[in-house]
Amino acid sequence: MTNPDGSVVRLEGIHKWFGDNHVLRGIDFSLDPGDVQVVVGPSGGGKSTLLRCVNLLELPSQGEVWFNGQDITDVRTDLNGVRTKIGIVFQAFNLFPHKTALQNVMLPLLKVLNIDPREADVLAREQLARVKVGEKADAYPGALSGGQQQRVAIARALAMKPELMLFDEVTSALDPELVGDVLQVMKDLAAEGMTMMVVTHEMGFAREVGSSMVFMDGGVIVEQGDPRKMFANPESDRLKQFFSQIL
């Protein structure tokens, strides 16, 4: 597959309507390998919708999504194949409640990648250990804390060996004291060079870990750049106002 600009993911002119509601109004950006793009902005600004457009959980009404040089908005694309290379972690965890932590991680390995059960077991345990919930392998999601559930969800996504990880407000549903563990896992992941796109309200994480930052409001990218510079010197009035409200 030709990939002229070497980007992992590139969005071109993305628009999204929900009925009459124009949620995304022309988004363009691209991520290079190893980028950690944080997306911040007020609620209802289209951040989550944008993230979900990247793996086509939401179909863009207009525009193209390119993944590794392939236009995945083309209907002829093997979307299921592409999705195995894009991991996503949700705000609500979305673990399968009828399966144990280990089974949650193993299921896609067995059914999508058709890996032999013994090998899948080893791989799944490796991933659970990587996010530090190895000892909870046989627990059902209902018996785990929110932070543990979210780390199992991350392990489930990582087990597929994705080339891009999407995080959709993954700490928003957690008790404050559980947020740290999940953020630590994400920091480690960034340090290992994973390409990531992170929608978050954790400004500390955005400043510290983000290699680039996007500020979204009203369905458009208002400002983007280096997060440390943006925190120090916000250019637009809208971003200044946003920081003054939350910091």
Binding site: I88, A92, P108, K111, G142, M160, E169
Partner: protein, 358 residues
């Protein structure tokens, strides 16, 4: 202390009142066989003695006296109970007093009903409904009827599940072309009487087209097709009750729609619909009685047909009482299981996952 005692006393009274008429009647029944009463139903029909005993018990002076006493005590308890419950010191005592008063009320109701019944012509009713002797010799027929009813219900329930689950998957399809035929099937079977479906299946298709299936086979197929329509609606509701995030999580790791359904959605949905599923099963058990219109099954009767046969032989409605009890023996445990499963599911074995926004 006095209050505690009075609370307990009230309950004791209430229990005595409740037990009174029943134990007295039992005693009476025990005494009478020693001096058989020829003044029972005068037709000299079968089972006169048994009927006579019951009637004797009902109309005996002792019974009446007990009932009157019970009424008086019941009224007293109700008055005392409702007058004093506000003065009870603990919630527990208060509950006891109120329970006692309620028992008193029930005793009054029951007693008055029995008195009215006994003051009329109880022998008629008893000989019609409680003529145990008329049932003699029909025991095996009724038992075999119960067995056949159960077999029919289990068979058609399984067939119904086999039809209902795939049907539910078709009905929730995004494509109208897929939905439409499934909807048509469901509406057809839910919109026409089972009696018509059974008649058409047996007379119209089996006999009409010269096929030679047994009535049992036809009954099971038609009941199964019918149950499939209802069960598909149960499954559909269950599948649609699973949070959208589950499907998204499954699709996002690269599963196809069908894989997501099979490994993530349906297993959860099936667990969630077990109570309504069992409920449909109870309904199905009762619906098997309609099979009577296509006749004997493999030369035997299902439960309702067995009762009807007994009635037309003896003209005693006791058979209908007997088969009603027969149905209850099958359905009550099922209803118990439904309640148990519901309580288990509600006590937190189900998902806590919530839908995220953004």
């Amino acid at each position: 202390m006095a209050l505690v005692l009075s609370g307990i006393c009230v309950i004791q009274f209430a229990y005595n009142i409740w037990g009174g008429p029943i134990s007295q009647a039992c005693l009476d029944r025990g005494i009478i066989p020693l001096t058989p009463n020829p003044n029972g139903p005068s037709h000299g029909s079968e089972g006169a003695l048994g009927v006579c005993h019951i009637v004797e018990g009902l109309t005996s002076v002792v019974q009446r006296a007990t009932l009157v006493l019970a009424l008086a005590l019941g009224a007293l308890v109700v008055v005392v109970g409702f007058a004093s419950y506000r003065r009870m010191r603990t919630r527990r005592q208060r509950d006891h007093v109120i329970t006692g008063a309620v028992f008193g009320l029930q005793a009054i109701n029951f007693g008055v009903l029995l008195l009215i019944f006994a003051s009329g012509t109880p022998e008629k009713a008893v000989s019609q409904y409680l003529n145990i002797h008329a049932l003699q010799g029909y025991g095996p027929v009724i038992l075999r009827g119960m067995k056949l009813t159960l077999e029919l219900a289990v068979g058609s329930e399984l067939l119904g599940i086999a039809i209902g689950l795939p049907l539910a998957l078709l009905v929730i399809s995004q494509r109208r072309a897929v939905r439409a035929p499934a909807r048509f099937y469901i509406n057809l079977f839910r919109g026409t009487p089972l009696l018509v479906q059974l008649s058409f299946g047996y007379y119209g298709i089996n006999l009409g087209l010269g096929m030679h299936n047994s009535t049992f086979t036809i009954a099971m197929i038609v009941l199964g097709l019918n149950a499939g329509a209802y069960l598909s609606e149960v499954f559909r509701a269950g599948i649609q009750s699973i949070e959208r995030g589950q499907m998204e999580a499954a699709r996002s790791v690269g599963m196809t729609y069908l894989q997501a359904m099979r490994y993530a959605i349906v297993p959860q949905a099936v667990r969630r619909v077990i109570p309504p599923l069992l409920n449909e099963y109870v309904i199905l058990i009762k619906d098997t009685s309609l099979v009577v219109i296509i006749g004997e099954l493999l030369g035997h009767f299902e439960l309702f047909a067995a009762g009807q046969q007994g009635y037309s032989d003896t003209y005693s409605a006791t058979f209908f009482v007997a088969i009603a009890i027969g149905y209850l023996i099958i359905t009550l445990p099922m209803i118990g299981v439904v309640n148990l499963v519901e309580r288990r599911l509600r006590s937190g074995l189900v998902t806590i996952s919530t839908q995220g926004g953004g």
